[in-house]
């Protein structure tokens, strides 16, 4: 028995899905200890937008370390943090006229969400947060209450209170959904808030992903998201967008909501923000809300991760030159073209934006089989959505074009094989 079987927790998951031992990785490839190469359409759960060991980033990191740059600083001021913040302001905030401040938290998405929930509660003096069906926001007790999946919720061991779960647009799986349906649901919610005898309190915030990644690659209807923001404003609640997985270029623009008509009060970022997979998490918070924080009220040891500032700073360069974002759009079309045969299958739905594409095959067991066979054919990908029935394709944005074609070829042939076998 290996050390993993002998000594790693029963909790481990991916090592069962990908039963090999990885050793090296470069851009869209992971190589195991036997030298077998795998195409990576999983990107470390959406972290590695810029590829494994992106050479511009690793070289910057090595330089930084060799210069004895401060590696760990909590929330002290450092030159590398200043450099990151200034670049982020220049590249991301200023062009969008975003007045938001940067709040660094413990370097996990769940910590960003927890901090956002705290602040919304503080600002409004209210307790309830509205989250959405199929939403995923983390595993710690506060964010877990906002996470919809019952498998994760079942591990809490205590009641998960103070969050109300609402439909993400239409209530049902999105065959034949239309804006109207989602808008009606929000109107009903508005009625409930305006009725002092509904038994429902006005919320502190609405916490929403623009694209639900773990939830099954569900894309918010633009009219619905605007109406949600209107409702938030109307009832005095904050709008929090969790852009942890869909942000940082994944959908063809820095934020997943850049082509939506929204102005979120808080944006939660993590995953791809650190460039190469070193941890970082950051909330963008409007000053008028941020002023409600007292110094050090929400802390965390690993808030000041210099390597993430280094590599994350390099990552920001991809947003000053249109090349990569243009490539994302082109690659989107390539992926969709490969998947076009799927459209004729009634039980399959393909949806996605930029380089996050979901293939909903409506059956978790089959999806598991797809993942397994892809692995055997040298392709790493994962399943998401209710019961794990959606195949999620999130290759690095920087993948070589031939690798993209090759990977898509495997996906399509395995899908054909598995779906036919029925």
């Amino acid at each position: 028995m290996s050390i993993f079987e002998l000594r790693e927790s029963n909790l481990r998951g991916y090592s069962r899905i990908y039963p090999t031992v990885f050793d090296k990785a470069i851009n869209a490839k992971q190589i195991d200890e036997n030298g077998k190469e795998y195409l990576d359409f999983f990107s470390g759960a959406g972290v590695l937008n810029f590829g494994h060991n992106n050479p511009r980033m690793t070289s910057a990191i090595i330089d930084y370390i060799q210069g004895n740059g401060v590696l760990h600083s909590l929330d002290m001021s450092t030159t590398i943090k200043r450099q990151f913040m200034e670049k982020f302001e220049e590249v991301v905030l200023k062009p969008r006229d975003m007045p938001h401040r940067m709040q660094f938290v413990g370097p996990t998405g769940t910590n960003a969400v927890e901090a956002a929930m705290k602040l919304a509660r503080r600002v409004t003096g209210r307790q309830e947060i509205v989250a959405f069906h199929h939403g995923f926001h983390g595993m710690t007790l506060g964010s877990l209450a906002a996470t919809a999946n019952s498998y994760f919720r079942g591990a809490a061991g205590v009641p998960l209170n103070h969050v109300r779960h609402q439909p993400f647009g239409c209530i049902t799986r999105c065959h034949g959904c239309h804006s109207e349906c989602g808008l009606n649901t929000l109107k009903q919610l508005a009625d409930q808030y305006n009725d002092s005898s509904s038994g429902i309190d006005k919320p502190a915030a609405f916490l929403v992903e623009v694209i639900q990644a773990e939830g099954g690659v569900n894309i918010a209807d633009p009219a619905w998201l605007s109406a949600l923001q209107d409702l938030a404003r109307e009832v005095g609640a904050l709008l929090i967008i969790d852009d942890i997985q869909a942000g940082m270029g994944r959908t063809g623009s820095f934020f997943s909501f850049d082509d939506y008509d929204v102005d979120p009060d808080i944006v939660c970022l993590a995953k791809g923000l650190g460039g190469v997979g070193t941890p970082i998490a950051m909330n963008l918070v409007k000053p008028e809300h941020d002023d409600h924080w007292n110094p050090g009220e929400h802390t965390g040891t690993f808030r000041g991760q210099s390597l993430s500032f280094v590599a994350g700073g390099v990552a920001l360069d991809y947003f000053t030159d249109p090349a990569l974002m243009d490539q994302v759009k082109r690659y989107h079309d390539i992926m969709m073209q490969h998947l076009s045969p799927m459209h004729s299958l009634p039980s399959v739905q393909v949806r996605g934006k930029g380089m996050m594409i979901g293939i909903d095959i409506g059956d978790g067991d089959k999806a598991k089989e797809v993942v397994k066979q892809c692995f055997e054919h040298g392709l790493l990908l994962g399943a998401c959505g209710t019961g794990g029935r959606v195949i999620k394709l999130i290759p690095p944005l920087t993948i070589e074009e031939d690798n993209l074609h090759e990977g898509m070829g495997i996906v399509v042939s395995v899908l054909a094989n598995v779906l036919e076998a029925v």
Copy 2:
């Protein structure tokens, strides 16, 4: 105005305490952008046991990166993770006959604590966790309920339920405390559990630090901790030791409880475990409890941090050779000798173990002044304890001896200055 003032959240804390911009760091020194050197008796809040930019670690990291080692892997198996796990088993677990499994979680201490709380609740089917006055376990909603400090608790915005806070040994500040007092408190608690009409439910776990670091450098009485474990066994609860700040050699041995007669069911580790300050967190869990986890029930993107495995693996070498741990004991004596004049001051209490020493001056405002003057004299340190009245000294274990003397000299002269000024 700097970018920090313009664009960083009002939440920031340490940048106010240390009003400069740090640039480089090596072992026990941080250097700001003006070239001013500071002795570091703070170690990034107890992370940098092996010094800033420990050269053995940075060189291993650079090698790893240059070899395109996998940087980020969630809980996939990797060669570097195997290497870390095998070394951890060899160096830490086997010599202690610890059957525990390693459970990697989101790379923050709070995530480790949340996972431990979930598991204890799952194993026992109970909800209440007992935590202790002055305990610090994190900022996310589950661990925050176990954190005692009202300043942090006040930011939750919702009630913090399902945790019961009990005295850490004696109820009161430890002048004239004695074992008897703490033992009596546990006997009373046992009575409450055994009385079906006490209104108090049997707990899922006792969650305790052996040395409360943030809580004011309070050291558990050995007899009390043993009795606590007995109580846990008696009522069918788990004993969870949070060794996040006090572990990894800080007290002169790998675990802070190595010289206690305890056998914890779960040990939470983070901070120093990654060697140079890159994030990692891990729980050690007994197999019979670990088996209650279902795969992937508690997840986290950044669970597989290879740089932390690399540097953390190097750190483990310090525990195969007695040199560093011997040095910790010698340095402890040096620090105590410097502080011996304090013993004559009735309002001051010095306590500590290994290289975590607290100087309780009983007054948070004065402690703040001490920190400020030390900073001005080129020494970084922090305050802890109720109202921040305890000066905490936690230099890197690897500090040069003359730096240690120099720093202690500053501490003592500033203390004299501030305390006299009263």
Copy 3:
């Protein structure tokens, strides 16, 4: 100042609405200490279905007391309790083939509801109860969580958890409502329960009034109520009908749901059950659920109220002879005829069943004025619904016909006066 002003709590309400001191009462009249007579269209908040001091009841009570019958017995067996139970079985349960057991609780509606919630949670092992907008179920912490009105909820002082509030049929005020709308809402709820990633747990019970009395005289659509029961069965939840105000003949039959196609698992009764206004509360519980109770798990001192058994037993006689229930239907028509001019007013909606009729004038301030002027004209009635905008008419079922005409005349003329005045 009177003793009421000097020494009664600021909490008092009705004594402000009816600023006089009542002395005597007989059937539909209350007489104040100055001899002024008031017609009573309020019936002690729906308690006095059979009139004040119903002579058949008072005479039976006097006989019982003169014979030294046990007055107070907790849940000991008594001859008078047996008599009541046997009659209840004969008159109410057997004709409907109801297998339910009688569970006597603390003699208040809220206690009945609390007991029902406990049992549903016990039976299902689930925590969440679904209650409905505008529902009213009591003031103690468990039932208050199910009560919708924010004025009452605001007095709790702690979060009201473990209850989910849903639309009572259609979400909005019932102009132009139709079955379809309410049924869709239930379908959506079913979808949420069937989706393991909705974030919503299956409930222990649905707790519903067939006619929401305090909520504004809202009548459940029969198709909706049947569908609600189907949903309950489908998800393994109990259906609890709170018939505390609408039951005991108020709507023209013993239960308010007698002409609905429902088979509730638990029915909560109180108010009119005791005949003359002495307290009693009782749940009807199906044996297969009732078996989950352990003896004495839910207790209450005043469970065995003999005077309520005496007068309540007399009250049951009204249900063995069709006369009174026929009269209720006839009186309903008389009341509606008086109110027919209201139909031409666009802002007014009249709704009701049997002798519970609500006049929704859409404005709480005007409704308050109506109540005030009616009082001045010698008529007692109350307002209900969101913001108190619905005038509720619930005279004793036994009212003399000329008193009914007289009272309705006052209502209509005051309404005309107040609504015109705008």
Copy 4:
């Protein structure tokens, strides 16, 4: 099978303990349908302080009913309520200089406690209530959280939050207890409140019985109760005394705390307050706290129970003449004398005040056997305390002296029989 077996809920308790059907009752006797007489040392769980069918009360009730007095009035003003309030002010409040207002609530003790908890939370803006081990305060969700017994708590089905349970004086069973021990516990609690890092919030109120009746006839130490009041004042919390079972003369004075040095902010009354067993509950509330109520925020249908005002008014006459209270003291001595042989038994402890006496035999099964044999010998009494190990003697205060002797004779001989049998 009888109707009780066929149709009464499995929840029923006392009908199993006293397996007969009672028919009539007069003073300290209950007579079953076969004419068998039972001496009543149970008094309807402490309700019937003035005996069954007290003739002064029943005659006043009959007069009132025959005069068509208002029977049910919610919180309208009535002549009979005025009469009761004026007499209560005269007899109870004025002689004690109590400025308290009378707040009538739903006519159960639990409703009084729930209202008190709400008000304390409102007044202080805090959530936590401190209640005590072995305390009993009711079965609805708010008061149940304050009730200590795990059998009752286990029926809640949801977590019981926002109440902290503390030792009632000494932590342990009261052999060899002393004031010091209880006072130390309060000092520790004060330390916890004064330590901002204890993790424990300052409470809204302390909710305490002066004699824990259901909890096992535990009598508060006067020094402890005074210190508790001091602590309440110091931390800005209210002191709520639940005098529901021990009040109304049971201990030889109107309030159980008349000979204590306390000035409670709220006193909860119910049970004996209505004289003959018709329901009523009332809180006494200091005006400065009462002013925090908004009208009608806490309601209840059966708040205005005229028969309870009638009989309760008669009951107040017993407190204008010293005869009955003197008799209580004399009867206490008689009871104690009968029990004096118990003192020699090491496993038995007799404790009590006035006419509430508990015989703690340390074993619930034996206590059950005592109750059973007493019943067979024609004596009704009940067990209380943890596991039901305390025999509680609470005969009507008005019992005939020979009945008292006779009943005590049965108690002592059955006790001897059961205890010897071991």
